[in-house]
Every structure is written in structure tokens, then in C-alpha cells.
Assembly symmetry: C2
Homo-oligomer: 237 residues x 2
Amino acid sequence: MALADVKALTFDVFGTVVNWRDSVARESQAILAPKGYVKDWHSFADRWRARYQPAMDKVRNGQRPWVKLDDLHRENLVDLLEEFKISGLSAAEMEHLNYAWRRLDPWPDAVEGLTRLKRKFIIATGSNGNIALMVNLAKYGSLPWDAVLGAEVAQSYKPLPEAYDRSAAALNLAPEQCMMVAAHNADLLAARARGYRTAYVDRPLEDGPNKTKDLKAEHDFDVIADDFIDLAAKLGC
Amino acid sequence: MALADVKALTFDVFGTVVNWRDSVARESQAILAPKGYVKDWHSFADRWRARYQPAMDKVRNGQRPWVKLDDLHRENLVDLLEEFKISGLSAAEMEHLNYAWRRLDPWPDAVEGLTRLKRKFIIATGSNGNIALMVNLAKYGSLPWDAVLGAEVAQSYKPLPEAYDRSAAALNLAPEQCMMVAAHNADLLAARARGYRTAYVDRPLEDGPNKTKDLKAEHDFDVIADDFIDLAAKLGC
């Protein structure tokens, strides 16, 4: 492994840094249960998330111009509420519910691990979330990013090549000086194809008890870690 | 003053957060004096800085496409070395000298003030410096930004309207929810014209002992502060 040249770590965020599923379930319940709705709130979170990739696909394939994730989440929420037969929310309530994605708890090891990694590396978001979403999420969870990069800065959604290329370019680094950190095999494969180093972090609880994919690192990534503290140790931090 | 709605502070950086003049003089001397050059290193810094606005003007007025500040600094350095009759630097030495702009000391109050302001507000760069420059400068000086915005994200150099408009948009905020913080009257006037709130911070030493402009706030900005600690106090942090 030629990891000595790595200067920056770019992080997938949803699932890798934060626990979106339990957090979105909790936030949705907190807003909607007092209105009398009784639902499976984890299923509500899962169904919201299920609309995530198809919505980005329309931007990726050029079917529509650039739309930031906050807006895709909002469009998906409208459909989701219809699916769950929930209605009558005010504009302010809709915004507050949509911004549940800004109130996601970091995994228990995330802040300590990032703080250690930050001593040695530039740590930046490499998420499909837009800048405002990432900034507010960092405020909520005290995530100590050096920079918020990712989809909006690159104007491209992972796993398109430009998403990785432009994040490295924004840091004035060669791809080989960047390491993508993710709990998702496909993200790391796409980053590796652009020249990035790769670190897989195990997040066995991301999709709840019935997780069916990304159960383990399926390729020979540069680092395979149990969590961010293990990642910090393996990177000498 | 209707400042209760302000959610984010965007900061001019060169001169307002960091002391570019003394730092560039020190860094240039450290690299060039051992090669036998005896120069007025503060004059060297001043002359480098004097090329800053004219270089951006060519981008602002469309004479050339987008060029990031690292590259403008590098072009200006080539001319500057000729002016000072300095030659024979290797590519690595040129890069190290150009990256003097990544090794600028924060004003003594800056880190404490930013740390206090960060508790209540999103704090972001609103500089003409590019992302890599700002990220490395923050690492060097322990500047605790929530986000690196500014010219490269906006693809526009202050004081053009887009530079302010796109920074607010990136945070998903109305301009009135943003406050520009700067030691320069013109920057604040341009921000105010786009709807921003404004805070003037006094930096009497920015241009050395013979400072001739921006000696004081020349307009009724929302806040006028002696330094970042005074700014934090005046904003209730």
C-alpha cells in the first residue's frame, strides 16, 4: 500500500458517518405521531431513502438539470406522504420534516474518529448531499470537517466520475492523494476507478436488522476498518 | 438593526482574518534570503498583493475564463520575481513560495473570536481565495470554518454580485440571513447591495504602518467592531 502520499480523506456521509435510518424514523415520528398518525417509522425512513437513487438518476442521466439533494428529498417527501396517506402539513411543517436529514445522529465512533483523522489529513465531505444540508448536519452532530465538498461543489452525483475528479481538483490534489471513505462497495469502486485510494468502513446497522448489501468489503480496498477509530489507528492517527 | 434573523457569517479572509503582509514577507524572506537575496520583504509582499486586483479584473470582466486564485498568485509571482530581479528557483521552490499564501498567521483575536461566533452562527469563508488555498490556510491557522465558500464555489470574484448571491444560495439562506464580515468598506458595500447584513472589523495593521485606505468604517454598517472578540460580544456570542 502506497498510502504515505494521501493528503485528504473524502467521506461518504449518509450511512458512513451518520445513522440516517434511526434518525429519520425518530424525527418523522416526532413530527407526525402527535398529529395522530400511527406508522412503522423505520419503514417510512426506508421508503424515503428508496426514492433517493432514482431521483438522482434523472439528474445523472441528463433527464433534468442540476437539482440539489434538499430539493430531491422534498419532492420525494411529497410522494412518500401520499404513499403513507399522510396529509395536511403546513409549509413550515413540510420544511421541518424535510430537514430531518439535517438532524441525523453520527455513529458513536464518528466524531472521535474524525477528530483524530483531522490531525493528519484534510477531512472533507464527499457526499451527494448539498452544501447547506452538509453544513447543518455538521452543526447538529459536531462533525469537524475541514471542507464541505461533494455533489454541489462538483455539480455531479456519485458514482459519476466528475463527482470524484472535481473533489480532488478542488483540493488541488491528484486523485492518488485522496482516499474515499465509505461503507458502500460501489462508491469505493467508482472512486478507485478515478485513481482514489479507498477505505471501507463497516456499518452493519445502516439498513436496520435486515441489511442485505454492503455486509462486508467485497474488494481489496486499501484499508478495511471496523469503524472510524479503527480507521484512524490503521492510518497512523 | 434586525440582526436576529442572521444565521451565517461569511468572512473576507485576506486582511480580515489573517495578516497576509507580515506573513508573506516572512515566508518570502525565509525562502529567498538563504539564496543570497537582500530585499525589502514587506515591499515584496506589497508588490505581490498589488497585482491581485488587476489579475482578478481580467476574470471579472470576461477577458479570460475562470482562473482560481492559486493560479493567479503563481502568474503574478513570475512577474514579481522579474521585477525584483530574482531568478533560478526550481519548480518545487516556486510552488513552496506561491503557497506562502497558505501560511498566513491569523490576527491574534481571530481564532478565539471565530470559535465564539461558531457557537451561534454558521461561519464560512467568503473570500476570493480558492478552496484548496482556504482549506490549507485553515489547517495552518486552526481556523474553525463550518464551510469553505467564496469565489471558487460561486465561480465569481467579489465584488461581483454573483459572489455574494451564490454564497447565500449555497447555504440555502436569503441574503438577509447572511452577514458579511470584512475590514474593507468596498466589500461590505457590495455585500449590502445584495441584501447582506454587514460587519466592519478594524484591521489597522493590514497594510503596515502607512495604511491609507479602510482606516475606518465609512458607512453605517450593521456592526462596527474593533476585532473578532468585540464582534462576538456585539453579536451576543
